[in-house]
């Protein structure tokens, strides 16, 4: 049995918000995310005949969107001014440790084992905290953590020169995110 495709207008109706949130959580720019939804639906319209019906419509559309997102990241990494600006933003935020390399703050973990991540409020805080990362850090974190892309692949995609730089950037990103979550989630 093959799944019947709905019309493009129905796609927008049914999956518009899902695609938008999926895109926005990755590119982090509402204008770009909207643009990507449009590109995805147009590409889907052109590729309508090749839809094999093996996956659900939603999975099919998200698959197209994924490609669009990677293309967007690839293009952006070629913009050297962006790269330099982001590197500068990454430096100078090591306020988490004192000069002996010990933690500045003295409190414990922010998440108890039974705390639910699904909580709408937690998602809002996470969204906010990701917004506080430099664009490059956010992109790195998303590609690696959310999309599970291999380190070597990400270095190529984002013009990161060595794996060591990659680990350093990931470590800083995690540190900053955790600090932000700790401040804004636990202390509510």
């Amino acid at each position: 049995m093959t799944n019947e495709l709905s019309t493009p207008e129905q796609w927008l109706e049914k999956y518009g918000d899902i695609l938008y949130r999926y895109g926005l959580s990755r590119v982090r720019d509402p204008g770009v995310a909207e643009e990507l939804v449009q590109e995805t639906l147009l590409a889907a319209l052109n590729a309508k005949n090749s839809y094999a019906g093996r996956s659900t419509e939603q999975t099919w559309l998200i698959g197209i969107l994924k490609h669009k997102i990677l293309d967007y990241f690839r293009k952006r990494s070629k913009d050297k001014s962006q790269v330099v600006a982001d590197y500068e933003a990454d430096i100078g935020q090591d306020d988490y440790f004192d000069r002996h390399g010990n933690w500045q703050e003295n409190d414990a973990a922010w998440l108890k084992p039974d705390q639910s991540f699904e909580h709408e409020q937690f998602l809002s805080v996470l969204h906010e905290c990701m917004g506080g990362l430099s664009p490059r850090m956010a992109q790195l974190f998303i590609l690696s953590e959310l999309d599970g892309i291999k380190s070597e692949e990400i270095c190529k995609l984002m013009s990161i020169s060595t794996l060591n730089n990659y680990w350093v950037m990931m470590s800083r990103t995690r540190m900053q995110l955790r600090n932000c979550l700790k401040k804004n989630w636990l202390d509510q």
Partner: protein
């Protein structure tokens, strides 16, 4: 003996890659003695698991209240119907 700063780097690296056995042992020793670093390790690994699970299930990690704006819906509808019309014209 590792500092907490060095330990935090290894904690993160361990989520992305293998550690050398030397680093692995140094980190284990440090974690045994340092409660703050254990807390950090637990937090970032929870975040890691949350992100991976969400990614695999294609969840957006954004609250459902975030939606496509009416204006952009309008714009996209127009672009779609223009394209549909274009396709029909080509088929005739």
């Amino acid at each position: 003996m590792l500092t907490c700063k060095e330990a935090s780097y290894l904690i993160s690296k361990k989520l992305d890659d293998h550690l050398t056995w030397r680093d692995r042992i140094a980190l284990r020793l440090h974690l045994m003695m340092c409660k703050l670093c254990r807390g950090y390790a637990s937090d970032v690994s929870k975040l890691h698991v949350l992100m991976r699970d969400s990614g695999e299930e294609a969840r957006a990690l954004l609250p459902d209240s975030i939606k496509l704006s009416e204006q952009s819906r309008e714009r996209i509808t127009q672009a779609l119907s223009k394209q549909t019309k274009h396709q029909l014209d080509n088929n005739q």
